[in-house]
Symmetry: C2
């Protein structure tokens, strides 16, 4: 009877079915909203993850393109028919290997690195947004800080974050969380993708397909370094982006995509005894 008296005394408990119905309704509505969001992500405006979908609200009449609208011009091919060109180029790049043992000397001239980055900057990009920043680290203190950040995170990666199969798959490459090349290599190039930009008028500019564009540009950079006779190592250090962005004081719209070590190989530089796939394993004709 005491319980009944208590129940009768509390308005909340007296009306608990109504409270339940209310709560239930809130949850159901939340659930439906989330479902709709998910399905619009899949079928709606934009499915590709690499396209930022945040646009400022502007009336359609006020829309301005990020690029200036000018008449198109006659295309002048920079390169004429070169039947031997493809073969020579293959001979150049087929000698490229990722190396992990760099020599501090001779130190390549910064102007060579600059020329290579100039080449990388010729990459195509979504709507010509050129969404890349190349941070060239030459100063040994900064290289030491980069190494500290990467080794710290990589230790956690190898011990905790990476699946044991992943660590096993890396065993033939003899990698570990210790990265001497980050201080040995004369240059580090940290390639940031710009997830968005700003127009001259200060409006937010969407950088379409910024990851693909920046990666293509990295591919061109690798070729340029190879043409200059330099070696490199492409790395994508897991979870190091935010700390490295802070170290290099890069703005919020930039995200680390690739960390490249660049220089000449040490005399005793060894590489994994790998084979590449044959042409018929990577190409299909139609």
């Amino acid at each position: 009877m005491e319980v009944e008296a208590f129940l009768n005394s509390s308005k909340l408990l007296q009306h608990w079915p109504s409270c339940l119905v209310g709560l239930l309704l809130v949850l159901v509505i939340k659930y439906i909203v989330r479902k709709r969001k998910d399905s619009s992500k899949q079928d709606g405006t934009v499915r590709d993850e690499d396209v930022a979908t945040e646009f400022e609200e502007v009336a359609d009449d006020d829309l301005q393109p990020a690029l200036e609208e000018k008449p198109h011009v006659q295309f002048v091919p920079g390169q004429t028919l070169n039947p031997k060109g493809a073969q020579r180029f293959y001979e150049l790049v087929c000698g490229r290997r990722s190396i992990r043992s760099f020599s501090a000397l001779p130190k390549p001239s910064l102007s060579v690195i600059e020329e290579c980055i100039r080449a990388a900057g010729t990459a195509p990009s979504g709507a010509h947004t050129e969404p890349w920043t190349f941070c060239v680290v030459e100063e040994s203190g900064v290289k030491q800080s980069v190494r500290w950040i990467v080794e710290h995170e990589e230790q956690i990666n190898y011990n905790k974050r990476m699946h044991p199969q992943w660590v096993t798959d890396l065993r033939p490459l003899q990698t570990s969380h210790v990265k001497p090349y980050l201080t040995d290599a004369p240059y580090l190039i940290l390639i940031f993708k710009q997830t968005y930009g700003t127009t001259k008028e200060g409006r937010r500019k969407t950088h379409y397909y910024n990851e693909i564009s920046t990666s293509i540009s990295a591919g061109i950079l690798l070729c340029a370094l190879q043409a200059a006779g330099l070696s490199s190592l492409v790395t994508t250090p897991l979870n190091c982006g935010p700390a490295l962005r802070e170290l290099l004081q890069r703005p919020e719209n930039e995200k680390l995509l690739i960390l490249l070590a660049v220089g000449y190989p040490s005399d005793d530089c060894k590489v994994p005894d790998l084979e590449r796939k044959r042409l018929d394993e990577i190409m299909v004709k139609y």
Copy 2:
């Protein structure tokens, strides 16, 4: 009174508070499970989206690397010091432009295209997984089907899926959903990223960073085509992947990343009057 009689006659209605409580519990549990999943995605094992996290359940002792474990070998640089190399390479690639008007003749030899893809296949990749397939389309019927699929989807993209700002940003490039280059260009190269693979023993093989690796390889391909004197257009047709994958009968693990049109420019080929960013706009020294 009739309503009351009806209420009393239905067991479900009589016990509706219990039913509600049950339903509520199910929803709350579902909500908690989802929350936990989301947070483990954010802070847990792997944060990077590009790393597939699906691993087969194998006891740690049974883990085998996807690559064979062999002693490393001495690195022989394919390229010696070449102080003029970077500059010459820049001169080569700075002439590259994306063109949208191709000439059907002269038709480049397939062997040149093959040599270029061979070069693309030298790209570095996560744990040397080489996660790429290059589909070379030469047959005009297949090109026509590709064009049909792309134009159909692009019409929906331009009209519905793309934000008006996006369509506006493309206006200076004078693009539309009509893509004559897809049938005019002597070759189309559809570059697929392989999201996973299979080991020789038939186990599932994770392709780490497959999108970045394949995009880097596309960058090398662009350089090879330029070295051969060929022009190209890089496109990333939105929402066309599944239909094109089906057309080319590519397996489930492959996803379309880039569709490249390749050939020689038509005589009256025009290009947007664009400028590239200066070196000091894309490079920062530390």
